[in-house]
């Protein structure tokens, strides 16, 4: 079975229907909402598999189905759907991970009174994300992009009665909106300069050679190629959505949402949308590579932003104590890796890492959710500990996820995808700096993931909640086991010896593997670095476990200032509070002053003028015209009294009168004027 591009819309339509059902289900019907959500996503998963089957049959093809949305004068806006291996792989990943997380949520949200709403939002999110993946038009992609942002806002603020959750939701929404402004400008500029927003359109699409050549041929301010400028604007959107430096601040705060949301949206799928977007418009981003005179290439910016983010996220993660925040900063760092891979030109390595990361990070988040659920919402790793015994399944699967994240060699998927990225970064001829930054981040990643596991699962329980923790139901452990299996197996679709995934993504029909020993030097280096990180982590946190919840962190004891700076997330939030927020406040004060003094003064002056003319009028009136008007004014006053009684102050009375008048006018029109 295959699914042609024409019917690709069915994939997002199914969860959308489930969201509709969820919205109409009363609060008590949570089984209906959950069932609809899970069934629809199962259907979408099956359809995605059909689509993948079709796409793999001819990986060179970009099968499209375009249609006219509406015409405005001579311009017509066209939308469309696109089926190629990139779309198909992403759809299968999103639906599969999403399905497991939906099932996990039935266990996790069991006690929540509003879980109907929860499943409605989750389905809406899945629909928007899948719509984003199948779009063949930057505009359609943007619409779904914003819907994804909306769903994320709703889900982060799901427990909106907590002030911190409401604030985090707002922060996430507004911060990503800053990036989206850039994306919107890029879209408008592309429409203006290229005349089309379709990706592929039988030779005329924005990602096809004729438009790309014309875009790369024009220069704009500063000697930049037009394609570079548009590409960087589009990249702004990806910076916001994928939590890249300097807009990464929202992602850790987004952990206020329920844990399945963190797993689905803020680890596996939505934050990867930025990476997907840049991989999708890669032809546009790389259109300026042939030019030698331009000051900067778009991809160079991407590579450096990615490298900075990778290092930043990994180093901050070392000093966090909240189990979900550690994972959040780890996500920031891994997304940085993906951007780095795209920047150095290997978008297939980025997608490979995106896919493996989606599985092992969803696994880690769900494992964290399982721990949090069992330990009665205790999230501080200092208060956990010793969970290895009572929670065997969670421990085993979490350990698999951690080893995949750290990049433990050969058996785990994270190793192969990270290796692919480092290999690509090593071959980049512009600069070697991102490569070295990536190597440092490898050590840090191995270190903090070891710290996380050692603190959470080893040693003795350090709080009553951790002492009484016990394993969760099968609805929660089942998805963990499946994800753990995937986190191991998925690495083997893209090993250097048999790069099946890479070949399919690039549209090659034959697979050219090479021996594992070709890049042996690099591989041995990174294995040594991983061993170093894990060894250091185990030596510090594993051998001598923390004695009680309030004991100082060994690193804190050794380098208190550095640790404090890191655990304060290097002060980015304070920095923004003292610059951006203060600027905003200043503008508000200026407007307030303007309003109070300048505009108000003008109004006062006019009023004085009015008073003055009034005075003059009264004088003439009293002296000259007073005689015959008394009777008339009596009448006027009576009329005024009558009307003022009609003005009762009740809005409904007015509305009723309006409606009544409307009906009379309608009757007049129907009876009198209709002929």
């Amino acid at each position: 079975m295959t699914l042609s591009a024409q019917f690709l819309w069915l994939i997002p339509a199914l969860p959308l229907a489930a969201a509709g059902i969820g919205a109409l289900t009363p609060r008590s019907g949570r089984k209906t909402a959950a069932g609809a959500a899970i069934l629809s996503l199962l259907g979408a998963f099956v359809l995605s598999c059909f689509a993948l089957n079709g796409a793999l049959a001819d990986p060179t093809m970009h099968a499209t189905y375009n249609f006219n949305w509406f015409d405005l004068g001579a311009t017509s806006l066209r939308l469309g759907f696109l089926l190629d291996p990139l779309t198909a792989f992403m759809c299968v990943m999103v639906t599969f991970v999403g399905l497991l997380i939906f099932i996990f949520s039935t266990g996790y949200m069991k006690e929540d009174a509003n879980s109907t709403r929860f499943f409605c939002f989750l389905s809406l999110f899945a629909a928007a994300m899948l719509g984003l993946l199948v779009a063949n038009s930057l505009l359609l992609l943007f619409i779904c992009w914003e819907l994804v942002g909306l769903a994320s806002y709703l889900l982060i603020g799901f427990w909106f009665h907590k002030p911190s959750a409401a604030a985090a939701a707002k922060k996430a929404f507004i911060t990503t909106r800053i990036g989206d402004l850039g994306l919107l400008l890029g879209i408008l500029w592309l429409q203006h300069a290229g005349g089309t927003l379709l990706f592929y359109d039988g030779g005329n699409g924005a990602l096809e050679s004729s438009v790309l050549a014309s875009l790369a041929g024009q220069t704009v301010a500063g000697g930049l190629a037009l394609s570079t400028a548009i590409g960087l604007l589009i990249f702004c959107g990806a910076i916001g959505k994928s939590g890249q430096f300097p807009l990464h601040v929202w992602l850790p705060d987004a952990m206020e949402g329920p844990t399945p949301v963190s797993a689905l949206i803020h680890a596996a799928t939505m934050v990867a949308a930025g990476v997907f977007l840049i991989a999708r418009v890669f032809p546009l981003m790389s259109a300026d590579l042939a030019l030698t005179t331009v000051p900067v290439h778009a991809l160079t910016v991407v590579a450096f932003i990615g490298a900075i983010t990778a290092l930043l996220g990994a180093s901050i993660a070392v000093a966090q104590n909240d189990i979900k925040r550690i994972l959040a900063f780890s996500t920031v760092s891994q997304l940085g890796y993906m951007m780095l891979a795209i920047g150095v030109g290997s978008w297939v390595a980025a997608i490979f890492h995106l896919l493996t990361h989606a599985f092992f990070k969803a696994l880690l988040f769900l494992g964290a959710g399982s721990v949090i659920h069992a330990a009665h919402h205790e999230q501080d790793i200092r208060s956990l500990g010793g969970l290895r015994g009572p929670m065997r399944v969670t421990f085993a699967t979490f350990a698999v996820g951690m080893m995949a994240l750290a990049g433990v060699p050969f058996l785990f998927s994270g190793f192969w995808s990270k290796e692919a990225i480092l290999h690509a970064a090593h071959l980049w001829d512009v600069s070697h700096l991102p490569f070295y930054i990536g190597l440092v981040a490898v050590v840090l990643t191995a270190f903090y993931s070891t710290r996380l596991v050692a603190e959470t699962f080893f040693g003795r329980p350090r709080s009553p909640a951790a002492e009484h923790a016990h394993e969760n139901s099968a609805a929660m452990t089942g998805p963990l086991v499946l994800l753990a299996v995937c986190a191991v197996l998925l690495g083997f679709i893209g090993t250097p010896a048999f790069p099946w995934l890479q070949a399919k993504l690039l549209g090659q029909t034959e697979i050219h593997g090479h021996s594992l020993f070709d890049g042996a030097g690099l591989m041995i280096t990174s294995i040594v670095l991983v061993a170093l990180g894990i060894g250091a982590g185990w030596a510090i946190y594993g051998r001598r476990p923390r004695a009680n919840a309030t004991a100082r962190d060994p690193l804190e004891a050794r380098a208190p200032r550095l640790f404090a700076a890191l655990s304060n997330r290097l002060g980015f939030d304070e920095f923004y509070a003292s610059t951006v927020f203060r600027l905003n406040d200043g503008l508000a004060i200026v407007s307030d002053r303007l309003d109070r003094h300048v505009w108000d003064g003008a109004v006062r002056f006019l009023a004085l003028l009015g008073v003055f003319t009034g005075q003059v009028n009264r004088d003439t009136d009293e002296q000259g015209l007073n005689a015959g008007f008394t009777a008339a004014s009596e009448k006027l006053r009576d009329a005024g009294k009558f009307y003022s009684q009609r003005q009762s102050g009740e809005a409904h009375g007015y509305l009723r009168t309006l409606a009544f008048g409307f009906v009379i006018v309608l009757l007049l029109v129907i009876l009198g004027g209709a002929r």
Binding site: Y643, S648, G649, H652, R656
Partner: protein
Amino acid sequence: MSPLQICLIISTLLFCIGLVSALTRSNAIMVLLGIELMLNAANINFIAFWRYGPQPEAGMGVIFVLFSIAVAAAEAAVGLALVIAIYRHRKSVRLQDAVQLKG
């Protein structure tokens, strides 16, 4: 029934729902919602008469509706701001409680 008639029936229904909501609900937000529904019923009419009217090519209907949506958004923003101000003042959003503005 022609598509135009179907559109008009839908918009009439929407308008009636909005009207009833605006007239019967005491919650100011629900009244605002009702007004929005009525506006959208008018928008559907614009689109329907444009699409099935004599000149479906010129973008008049869409542009008109875009303006109308922008106006509706501004109206909703002002309306909600007023509701919030009233709520701060009287700890209630019931319209019956806000009757100070009378002659």
